[in-house]
């Protein structure tokens, strides 16, 4: 499976480039939007939680801006993969009806494209942190497995959602709301410690909590992730991959018939 996908690497790489082109086609600022969009969003949350509602409840998170970005940038990667990926089969209906290729390449391309974009954003963010004098440490290497884990979770969700979306377009209706709900159920703009203990327990059921919490620790407090909190997201990922593979195996061979 992996070996046969490797043969298509130039298609995937070309797809990542086409993805960027299509997105910024006809816009004046072009690829600069890759940075402007998330920067604007970060500014909004930053102003709301520092200027409009000065934090009484957030507790001690150190530099709030650094904390916010540490969770928000990975979240944006996660939500972009799902947002753009859950329609990938519908959008490429013509290609699917005309050529035979492993259909998994389409969500894979979207996932890798978003991961690449946000890695660039992440590097810019870390550079800014270094410039303003935030102490960064070797703990940053923990980000690599965490980003892979997050990308894997987004990928497996996207494959399943995109396949089901071909059969029932309801997925397209539900995804924006679902992502919004998941966003607030993940400690991104607030630390998990700011939640009342009765509610914080529920956040532990969210596989993203541990992953994003680990990123915040590595960047903001120069600590290793709490590894035991990553066991659950890792197990979750394994199950999600198995489930989406089962759906894929059943649906992919005749996907062209449904489009």
């Amino acid at each position: 499976m992996v070996k046969s996908l490797w043969n298509y690497r130039s298609f995937v790489w070309g797809g990542i480039r086409r993805d960027l082109q299509l997105r910024y086609f006809g816009s004046v600022l072009g690829i600069a939007w890759l940075v402007i969009q998330p920067a604007g969003l970060i500014a909004v949350y930053f102003l709301i939680f520092t200027a409009v509602f000065p934090n009484r409840t957030l507790g001690n998170v150190g530099n709030y801006g650094a904390f916010l970005c540490a969770g928000l940038i990975p979240w944006l990667m996660f939500s972009e993969i799902i947002q753009r990926g859950h329609t990938c089969f519908l959008e490429n209906a013509a290609l699917i009806r005309h050529s035979s290729f492993p259909r998994i390449l389409l969500p894979l391309t979207t996932t890798l494209s978003a991961m690449l974009n946000f890695s660039i954003l992440f590097v810019i963010y870390l550079a800014v942190l270094a410039l303003i004098g935030q102490r960064l440490s070797l703990h940053l290497i923990a980000l690599l497995p965490l980003i892979l884990l997050l990308g894997g979770l987004a990928f497996s969700a996207t494959v399943a959602l995109a396949l089901v979306n071909v059969y029932a377009r309801d997925i397209s209706q539900a995804v924006p709301f679902g992502l919004q709900l998941l966003f607030w159920l993940t400690p991104i703009v607030y630390p998990q410690s700011a939640m009342p203990a009765s509610l914080a327990r529920f956040l532990d059921w969210n596989p993203l909590s541990g992953v994003i919490g680990g990123m915040q620790r590595a960047i903001v407090s120069n600590q290793w992730p709490e590894w035991q909190r990553l066991a659950y997201p890792t197990l979750f990922l394994a199950l999600a991959l198995l489930l989406s593979r089962a759906v894929y195996r059943r649906v992919a061979p005749t996907l062209a018939d449904e489009l």
């Binding site: 086409r18 009806r97 035979s100 029932a168």
Partner: protein, 254 residues
């Protein structure tokens, strides 16, 4: 030497659901059987030798396009086995799934990447494809500005730029102008001489014996005839007279 294409008792049913909800039930619970099958191809067996060219004749809805899609690997058969040896290129439903916003050049790159060609090979092919397609500078314009003839010229130039072991062409030659049709036929002969197997669908009965020695006739999804192309054309003509299905269709559209 092994055959280029083999179809063994191939059948294809499309699932028909009476309500969209049933699709989801079916997806979650395969044993539910919330659909009824519409069989478009039944028990079709044939094989094509390397370098052999075979035409498929049949009225609308006879299953020609479905057979081509099955051989091209675009969809899986419901019954039986399809196997293809070697590199396959398919031009189906008048095109190759080009993207309307991308230029001809970008579409060629994308499809070539899908065929697994290396970036260096693609760079080498681009000028050749542009030249054969006679698109000139239009090659760099978005596909949405192309006429259907231009679309086909691009698709044909791309599909035949690298010699495939198996080439599938559905109706493609009918669209181009006389000049390009001649050029395409010459290119097809070249590929045939080079050992390419061809599976060919056309409504142009005159064209078929010029391209293929052998032909199949499909009727309501079943194989009715497998023999010489000339024989197939006359057999098909008598079949069309005895079952006036196509005739009514022509009247309806005309």
């Amino acid at each position: 030497m092994s055959v280029a294409i083999r179809c063994d008792g191939v059948g294809k049913a499309y699932r028909h659901f009476s309500h969209p909800r049933d699709r989801i039930v079916q997806l979650l619970w395969p044993a539910a059987r919330k659909y009824h099958d519409v069989w478009v191809v039944r028990d079709v067996s044939f094989s094509v030798e390397p370098g052999e060219s075979v035409a498929i004749l049949g009225g609308n809805g006879a299953g020609k396009s479905t057979i081509l899609r099955l051989v091209a690997g675009i969809t899986a058969p419901t019954m039986g086995q399809v196997s293809v040896h070697g590199r396959l290129t398919a031009m189906l439903e008048l095109g190759m799934g080009f993207h309307a916003e991308f230029s001809g050049e970008q579409n060629v790159q994308m499809t070539a990447q899908l065929y697994g060609l290396r970036p260096a090979e693609i760079r080498m092919l681009l000028p050749r494809i542009r030249e054969f397609s006679e698109l000139g500078d239009q090659f760099f314009e978005p596909l949405r500005t192309y006429s259907s003839g231009m679309n086909i010229r691009l698709a044909f130039s791309l599909a035949t730029a690298v010699r495939p072991d198996v080439l599938i062409i559905d109706e493609a030659l009918a669209v181009g102008d006389q000049n390009f049709q001649q050029k395409s036929l010459a290119r097809i002969r070249e590929l045939q001489d080079g050992g390419t197997s061809l599976l060919f669908v056309s409504h142009d009965s005159g064209m078929i014996p010029r391209v293929c020695k052998r032909a199949l006739i499909l009727d309501h999804g079943s194989l009715r005839y497998d023999g010489s192309a000339e024989g197939a054309v006359s057999e098909y003509a008598s079949l069309a007279v005895s079952t006036p299905r196509d005739a009514t269709l022509i009247v309806e559209h005309g």
